[in-house]
């Protein structure tokens, strides 16, 4: 495809998305996923049309009931007259690159309702790229005019945690009687949850799990103090003052809810808490702060990727990585010198352009 053609294809897609065409939206997300030529222009053009739609992240261990909950959540929003976009992220095989994306099976409540736009995405083994692709897909759904966006992912691994960080409100799903799950949650996920949902609450052990969670969240507040999401709280903070601080200032106290997603029990409560959380974010200015943090991360990520691209080209110019390795291995040179050599023209260029 020539440059001109790519350009007009991008314009056409942008017009389609803004016009509410489902096909154009689907195509746009494919372009984003594939990193097809013109995808950057596409996302750039769409960004101007976004309004900062509320994004809800849903995470939890496999089998906790994420997809079923998301289905019911989407239905509840639809009943309020809101349109919904859902992105479900599943892992892909590191060997074949293939994937079975199964979250769609649970989307039974919104059959034939095109105002719930459900899209499955796979990790495709791209390091750090998954969160970028997801963020770009959110941009597309936002520009399309969705009122709520839900991102669903298995919360295991850095990639997925990054994905969930693209959300304004994070829902962590836990199943009852999963003492080990709660243990697992201690590392990482516990800190990013704004709402904890004990799903399958009709099962034995639900109450215990709720109690366990509340206790652990209490510990979290005690140890991280008001720094909360940034995890920068001083470890030697006096517990008593931290505690009273948390009550009086802007800190959001994570809620623990019970649901039975298959029957739709507790979904209204969840919706209520999510609305409260969003209001809280807006009123405290945290919404803005989070958005800024996200943009910063996004810009840095893009810069790193682009700079890496430039460097790859420079490495090729030096005869390729293998040649450089040979030289290092033969003790003709060392990794630091190689890095300096490869980087030198870039650094020079930056220096000159600055003036």
């Amino acid at each position: 495809m020539s440059e001109g053609e790519t350009e007009s294809a991008v314009d056409e897609l942008v017009a389609g998305v803004l016009d509410g065409e489902h096909r154009a939206l689907a195509r746009t997300i494919t372009k984003i996923e594939n990193r097809e030529p013109g995808y950057r222009d596409l996302v750039s053009a769409l960004h101007g049309h976004t309004t900062g739609t509320a994004v809800i992240g849903v995470t939890g261990s496999p089998g906790a009931g994420k997809s079923t909950l998301v289905d019911k959540l989407a239905k509840a929003y639809r009943e309020q007259g809101l349109t919904v976009g859902v992105i479900a992220v599943d892992p892909s095989s590191p060997y074949s690159g293939g994937a079975v994306l199964g979250d769609r099976i649970r989307m039974a409540s919104n059959v034939g309702d095109m105002d719930v736009f459900f899209r499955s995405m796979s990790a495709r083994g791209q390091l750090g790229g998954l969160s970028t692709a997801t963020a770009d897909a959110i941009t597309a759904l936002d520009a399309f005019g969705k009122d709520r966006i839900v991102v669903e992912t298995v919360g295991a691994g850095q990639n997925e945690v990054d994905v969930v960080r693209t959300a304004d409100s994070v829902v962590v799903l836990v199943q009852p009687g999963s003492g080990d799950d709660v243990q697992m949650l201690k590392a990482g996920i516990l800190e990013i949850g704004d709402v904890f949902v004990v799903n399958k609450a009709d099962m034995d052990g639900a109450t215990t799990t709720v109690t366990d969670l509340r206790e652990m969240l209490h510990l979290r507040e005690g140890s991280t103090g008001t720094a909360g999401h940034h995890g920068l709280g001083s470890l030697d903070a006096d517990d008593a003052t931290t505690e009273s601080d948390a009550d009086t200032d802007d800190e959001w106290d994570p809620e623990v809810l019970e649901t039975v997603a298959t029957e739709g029990t507790g979904i209204d409560d969840l919706l209520g808490v999510l609305d409260d959380h969003y209001t809280h974010l807006r009123e405290t200015g945290e919404l803005d702060r989070r958005a800024r943090t996200r943009y910063a991360a996004e810009i840095r990520q893009l810069l790193r990727a682009d700079a890496a691209g430039l460097l790859e080209a420079e490495i090729d110019r030096h005869g390729g990585m293998a040649t450089l390795i040979d030289a290092v291995q033969a003790r003709d040179t060392d990794p630091y010198t190689v890095a300096d050599q490869v980087l030198a023209p870039l650094a020079d260029c930056v220096e000159r352009r600055r003036e």
């Binding site: 689907a26 095989s93 074949s96 293939g98 079975v100 499955s120 791209q126």
Partner: protein
Amino acid sequence: MSTGQEQRTVRCLVAKVGLDGHDRGAHVIARAFRDAGFEVIYSGLHRAPEEIVQAAVQEDVDVLGISILSGAHNTLVPKVIDGLKSYDAFEDTLVIVGGIVPEEDRADLKAAGVAEIFGPGTPMSETIEFVREHVDR
């Protein structure tokens, strides 16, 4: 210059449509597609044609594989294809059918827009090869 190289992956929807509870074949083909490096979305059982269309459009799949063993293919498959057309999605979706389709029905299905029909005993590799050859992206 751009970030990252282009990463194209064949996306398939493996769909069970209508009152047909036999999904072993669909599961086997879903796995085979996955192992071939495709991204597979499985519809689940007992889907209405509109649901299949909704999924195919939203997921922007390259391939729609309809598994059908109930004998209702003459009714259901054209409905799916019409639905795709109404969203302007038929042209670039490769529609294939797997299952029990009598010889005399095949010509009609192909005329309706089905690219190929794979009966029982078709080697997995043949189906995968067909998809690779006919997906243009």
